[in-house]
């Protein structure tokens, strides 16, 4: 007996160790993690391993981020001023855009209230630093440096400003594990933005997030945006998930297809993430203040636009038959109005309408060319009959009077400058299409004071 044990002890130890692990594996597979948390023993093992790994991971991450922060804060500040100015301008622009869509959002909220639907807003988030990974291409796990002591709980969503990242699967006192959306065991309810198709998001074997078990639909095209549907009770509705990359057939589940996505968040390079710890039916106070500010800015803009519209109505002569029709349908392929809020750059920077000079193909040799404003007169139309106005010395403040009485335009300083309604009250007034495009309307709105003054003068 002793000889037998001595002879086969290596094999017996190997068998015993393998058997124990096989049994442990079998128990875990019977109760998959998707249905709940790990068993007590497994959780304890993970806890001890993460507890051993996280201190050096934190040190390395914080040292690295400290060095990067030093570089960013003290050395790489060369273009900060320019960036600051550009960002300020962008904030103003976004404020106007936000005001423009605010009404639609409010209407949507009212309709949702009527339907009894309660929108969940992200109310509170905890920023966390990513300090580790699962170390395996089969396990899309991130370790973050915040845990239950900071108020984190299991199943809370993890996001970045770009899009969703995943959800918390294990929460330890000072660290947590995040299951990324491209893991095979993950799951999230998503919605295709344009086609409004709903589905379940899950990672595939190649580490790509995909919407599984979808019936084939020709309307689904690459590039379509995908957002969270809110149906999983984890991710708030409307967060960016990614864009459709391709549609592939599922050989195991004919005729269903899988929609492979390109994630909105860069899952390969994540430094910092936000854990959503609280959602609410109401917007956070800071957001409400910001919206109120934008709303005030939007109201001011609407007021200015209204003034310019009234002015345009009272000046029926400001019509140009040659002007292109108003772009009612300046919409993109997805129906979104693409008209910019800023005025378009003029085709020729002459301060006047670009449509007043006829193309050479429409001119007759020997006949006098129509008088253009720059030649000292203006061709103001009244219906279809052009009316020539006599030349008359005039200065509207923008130009200088030449010796022959014609007005020379003032030096042009800004390509984005535009016709200010109401300033052209004399014969040299430029041609303006009363049915202004969005760009003109916006540009008109920027000079309300000049417009109002001229209106009084006109009346």
């Amino acid at each position: 007996m002793e000889t037998f044990l001595e002879r086969y002890k290596n094999i017996m130890v190997l068998s015993a160790v393998l058997l124990a692990q096989f049994l442990g594996l079998a128990v875990q597979v019977r109760t998959p993690a998707a249905r709940g948390s790990d068993g007590k023993g497994v959780r304890l093992l993970r806890y001890w391993v993460v507890a051993m790994m996280s201190p050096p991971e934190k040190v390395m991450s914080h040292t690295g981020s400290g060095a990067r922060g030093f570089w960013g804060n003290y050395i790489d500040l060369r273009h900060t001023r320019e960036e600051n100015q550009a960002l300020r301008a962008q904030v103003e622009q976004l404020r106007l855009e936000q005001a423009a869509i605010l009404e639609d959002a409010k209407q949507g909220q009212r309709l949702q209230e009527l339907l009894g639907f309660r929108q969940k807003y992200i109310y509170k988030t905890v920023p966390a630093q990513v300090i580790g990974t699962g170390g395996s291409d089969q396990s899309r796990i991130l370790t973050i440096d915040k845990g239950s002591k900071e108020g984190l709980k299991r199943d809370q969503p993890v996001i970045t400003p770009d899009g969703i990242v995943g959800k918390l699967v294990e929460v330890f006192p000072h660290t947590s594990q995040v299951l990324e959306i491209n893991d095979q065991t993950s799951g999230a309810g998503v919605l295709l933005e344009k086609t409004r198709m709903r589905g379940v998001l899950r990672g595939n074997a190649y580490g790509q997030p995909q919407i599984i078990n979808v019936l084939p639909d020709d309307r689904v095209k690459p590039g379509e945006k995908v957002v969270t549907s809110g149906g999983d009770q984890i991710f708030p509705r409307g967060l960016a998930v990614g864009t459709v990359e391709k549609v592939v057939s599922d050989p195991d589940r004919e005729p269903y297809v899988d929609i492979v996505l390109k994630p909105a968040a860069n899952l390969q390079h994540l430094d910092e993430v936000l854990v959503v710890t609280e959602t609410s039916d109401e917007l956070p106070a800071a957001t409400q203040r910001d919206l109120a500010k934008s709303e005030a800015a939007g109201a001011e803009e609407v007021e200015m636009q209204r003034a310019s519209d009234i002015l345009a109505e009272k000046l029926p002569g400001l019509q140009d038959p040659n002007a292109p029709p108003p772009q009612q349908g300046a919409a993109g392929p997805d129906g979104v109005d693409l008209r910019p809020l800023k005025p378009l750059t003029a085709a020729r920077p002459d301060r006047f309408s670009p449509s007043e000079v006829r193309p050479a193909s429409q001119m007759t040799p020997g006949k006098a060319a129509p008088i253009t404003p720059s030649q000292g007169g203006s061709e103001v139309t009244n219906g279809n009959a052009p009316v020539k106005r006599p030349k008359k010395p005039h200065s509207d403040g923008d130009g200088t009077i030449s010796s022959d009485g014609s007005t020379k335009p003032a030096p042009h300083t800004n390509q984005d400058s535009f016709i200010i309604p109401g300033t052209a009250t004399g014969p040299d007034r430029p041609l303006v299409n009363p049915e202004k495009t969005g760009a003109e309307k916006t540009s008109a709105a920027i000079a309300p004071a000049a417009g109002a003054a001229s209106r009084e003068q006109h009346q």
């Binding site: 290596n10 594996l25 690295g64 300090i131 699962g134 893991d183 074997a205």
Partner: protein, 173 residues
């Protein structure tokens, strides 16, 4: 082939290591395996824990020690993932046993032996992982033998450097 075989008593001696090295090296390997891909995602091709298992198993030339080393390192590796605990554990246990068994018969200090050993064991480990994931826990797994061969070659390069470094920590008689 006789070059690769152990032909002296010195070559068959069991190597001893200070216990802090025995304890810290596997932990450091698992830590680096989890941390490095965060900064450099392409480094997930390395399998540092496997290399450590191979090294200690062939150096100590004890199948039981190799089995236990493989099991412990594999379970640590499973601990930082979200996969069921035991996937890497089973694969590394078998590799530890095989490496220790082979270490009893060949000269493991020879660089050519080491290269061949690391290459073959990395492929065997990949195969075991494939079998466990696909057939035991029935998960999908993207698989390419070409990728596995490249991965094995990359680990051979890293293993030669790592083994040379760990050789310096041996306890000298």
């Amino acid at each position: 082939m006789p070059v690769l075989m152990a032909n002296s008593r010195r070559e068959l001696d069991t190597q001893q290591f200070p216990w802090p090295i025995m304890l810290a090296t596997p932990l450091l390997a698992v830590f680096l395996q989890a941390y490095l891909p965060l900064r450099y995602p392409r480094l997930d091709v390395f399998d540092l824990p496997l290399l450590v298992v191979i090294y200690f198993a062939v150096s100590r030339r004890s199948p039981i020690a190799g089995t236990l080393t493989g099991a412990v390192v594999g379970l640590l590796q499973d601990g930082v993932t979200h996969q069921p605990v035991g996937i890497h554990g089973i694969a590394n246990t078998i590799i530890g046993f095989l490496a220790a068994s082979i270490g009893l018969r060949i000269d493991v200090d020879n660089p050519i032996t080491r290269m061949l050993m690391i290459f073959v064991f990395t492929l065997v480990d990949s195969f075991l992982y494939l079998v466990i994931v696909r057939h035991l826990i029935a998960e999908q797994l993207a698989w390419s033998w070409m990728h596995q061969i490249v991965r094995a070659a990359v680990n051979v390069a890293l293993g030669l450097v790592l083994f040379a470094g760990l050789d310096r920590t041996r306890v000298r008689d």
